[in-house]
């Protein structure tokens, strides 16, 4: 959803400052200003704050290993007394499931598989189509370019909620899908299908805008040189433009993946089969429907968080380059 994810993109785009070894500044305000006393005071202020921020996570991880009885004990246990893998096993569909267990959401590993499939598809497709469009807006001169680009820019101001409802109806009336006739009537179209989840997400005006800004800095001479060497237009795009904007592409891909993995509203309204919903929707419905197996829920929450944390840790450095795109230089 083009309107929705721009917030996410900007929200995620800045962790330059998370770099563990910051540039040059260290010696300057290091020794002469910052004495032992200040250091101790700072730690005394920071440590409790950090504990407060991390405590919910610690609790989540601990509780995901606790049996129900322990979670619901009157004294919270930070270290599980009687650790169990019940919750994780439940999701990963290990062993024989009773009807009761199934009703509680056991065997819902598919939520995570769905999330992964949808998020990866959207990421790959959106990165490709965004960059293709961005390239045309940045480096090609063709009649109508400015008009089309302005149209893109203008729609960036429309929040996702405005297009949400019509998109729901449009998706419902896609011709030839889900039992629809050629006019798009009679069936449910792309509702409750992966098509409906993925297709609206494969271009993002905001992503195109950021990539275009990046591509503007590629010198025209490079493209001309390739053209003279006889490269076709797609070849130029693939072999000259794409390699030159890898940092921007990486940033775009990371934010898209995070946004797609976390996306909640759109999958919530268009998906209905329990075996097709994505992890955030599955977990949220779990709570809203007052199902009681909190061990399972906490284990599922941990599983849903892991990919985000892995992406964050692995690509921490890539985020640095992402900052140039959103340009918060202070």
């Amino acid at each position: 959803m083009s309107g929705l994810d721009e917030g996410v993109a900007l929200r995620e785009a800045v962790p330059e400052a998370l770099e563990p070894t910051p540039p040059a500044r260290k010696p300057q305000n290091g020794n002469n200003q910052f004495g032992l006393r200040q250091k101790v005071v700072t730690y005394v202020v920071l440590a409790p704050l950090a504990i407060l921020f991390l405590a919910p996570f610690a609790w989540l991880i601990s509780a995901s290993f606790q049996p129900m009885g322990e979670i619901f004990s009157s004294v919270p246990h930070w270290i599980p007394k009687d650790p169990t893998l019940e919750g994780y096993k439940g999701f990963l569909n290990v062993g024989h499931l009773t009807t009761f267990q199934q009703g509680q959401g056991h065997g819902d590993w598919r939520w995570f598989a769905n999330s992964a499939f949808v998020a990866v598809s959207i990421t790959v497709l959106q990165t490709f189509f965004n960059s293709l469009c961005a390239y045309c807006f940045a480096k090609r001169r063709f009649p109508g370019r400015n008009a089309i680009f302005l149209l893109f820019l203008a729609t960036m101001m429309v929040p996702g909620q405005v297009t949400l409802i019509p998109d729901y109806l449009i998706v419902q009336h896609i011709p030839f899908f889900g039992g629809n006739d050629w006019l798009g009537n009679g069936g449910h179209g792309w509702l409750d299908s992966y098509w409906g989840l993925i297709m609206p997400g494969i271009v993002s005006a905001f992503g195109i805008f950021l990539l275009r800004q990046y591509m503007l800095s590629i010198p025209d001479q490079l493209l001309e040189a390739a053209r003279i060497d006889g490269a076709g237009e797609f070849r130029i795009f693939r072999s000259v433009v794409l390699p030159l904007c890898l940092p921007a592409l990486a940033a775009n891909a990371i934010f898209t993946f995070q946004g797609a993995w976390e996306d909640f509203f759109w999958p919530l309204i268009i998906m209905s089969s329990p075996d097709k919903i994505t992890a955030p929707v599955g977990l949220a419905l779990f709570v809203v429907q007052n199902r009681t197996s909190w061990t399972l829920l906490f284990a599922g929450s941990v599983i849903a968080t892991l990919p985000m944390i892995i992406v964050f840790i692995v690509f921490q450095r890539k985020f640095v380059q992402g900052i140039a795109l959103t340009g918060i230089k202070g």
Binding site: R145, T155, T163, P166, E233, S301
Partner: protein
């Protein structure tokens, strides 16, 4: 090479001498660019249109057509379950003006934004100032404060819903033990506590982002300014007040605009934690729209509500777009 062997439109143009091509068209852009006829230029750049096609197709359907359709919906009583979808003129807008629950949802949303945005910005600034100091463990602290930002929102909401649980939640447990409260609080079902509870959770989830933006801002402030201030006899407080905070203005502006935009669209926390209750106290604009669209199935009225949100956001999105353009040097 003094003369690069590059074939561009402008280079190629002077070759054609004589005939109608050579006559400069005064007053319409650069004369060279308009040498070719429109169909010729379209044909020459045909690959650009091919590249744009898939993106444009998706964009036209799910954004352009959707916006137009949304406008159309606001003038109709459009119920999914009824075959009749009559034109009702401005009735939806008039209804909205007299809808007390709508007014309430606007006030709730403003309450949420008004509290959560400044709070997470202030906390973020404080944390940024602290973790910008030369400490050995600052990388660890930064990661700790940023972790909630990486966590999927649904997971945070579920986790906090449990923390707020009246009987088993950690909040009540520790507050009771510290004798701050005498009786357990029903955080999410008390009509005066529910919104603050949701706000606290959102601040926890959003502070890390503010911190990182402020950190990037802090690291861009030239040290000479501090030296100069010090020579002028400014103490730590004055350096903060008259150097740091004014120099962080771009970061502050960015965070303010982004924060307002995303907080006015708050939905996930509400859906998971409170369902808009108790007695509509946490029914925000987007949640109210969701109710009308997908609980009462009135797409017309729901779209009208979406446009009300659009109007509220317009000022801020325009500002955001300007910031983004400035930052990326467009």
């Amino acid at each position: 090479m003094a003369q690069p062997l590059v074939r561009t439109e402008t280079d190629a143009a002077p070759v054609k001498t004589g005939g109608r091509w050579s006559r400069p068209r005064l007053g319409r852009g650069t004369p060279h660019a308009n040498r070719r006829s429109l169909p010729a230029r379209v044909w020459k750049e045909r690959s650009a249109y091919v590249f744009l096609l898939p993106g444009m197709l998706i964009f036209s359907v799910f954004t352009l057509a959707a916006v137009a359709f949304a406008v159309y919906l606001t003038f109709h009583r459009w119920s999914i379950i009824e075959p009749d979808k009559p034109f009702v003129g401005l009735d939806n807008y008039r209804d909205m003006m007299h809808d007390e629950r709508f007014t309430e949802s606007v006030l709730n949303t403003v309450y949420f934004s008004g509290a959560s945005v400044p709070l997470s910005m202030a906390t973020g600034l404080l944390l940024a100032l602290l973790v910008n100091l030369p400490l050995r463990l600052r990388g660890l602290f930064r990661t700790a404060f940023y972790l909630p930002v990486v966590t999927p929102f649904v997971v945070s909401a579920i986790l906090w819903k449990w923390l707020y649980n009246g009987d088993y939640g950690l909040f009540n447990y520790y507050l009771l033990h510290a004798h701050i409260i005498d009786t357990p609080l029903l955080w999410l079902s008390d009509k005066n506590l529910a919104m603050p509870a949701v706000i606290l959770m959102s601040v926890w989830a959003g502070t890390g982002f503010s911190m990182v933006v402020y950190l990037a801002g802090l690291q861009a402030i030239p040290q000479e300014l501090y030296e100069a201030a010090r020579i002028d006899g400014a103490g730590a407080w004055h350096r903060l007040r008259y150097v740091t905070i004014p120099m962080l203005r771009p970061s502050t502006l960015f965070l303010l605009v982004m924060g307002i935009i995303s907080s006015l669209q708050v939905f996930t926390q509400i859906f998971v934690m409170t369902n808009g209750g108790p007695v509509n106290r946490t029914t925000t604009m987007v949640y109210y729209m969701y109710l009308w669209a997908f609980k009462y199935f009135d797409m017309g009225y729901a779209s009208t509500l979406a446009f009300a949100l659009f109007l509220m956001l317009l000022v801020f999105t325009a500002l955001q777009l300007r910031l983004a353009r400035q930052a990326s040097g467009a």
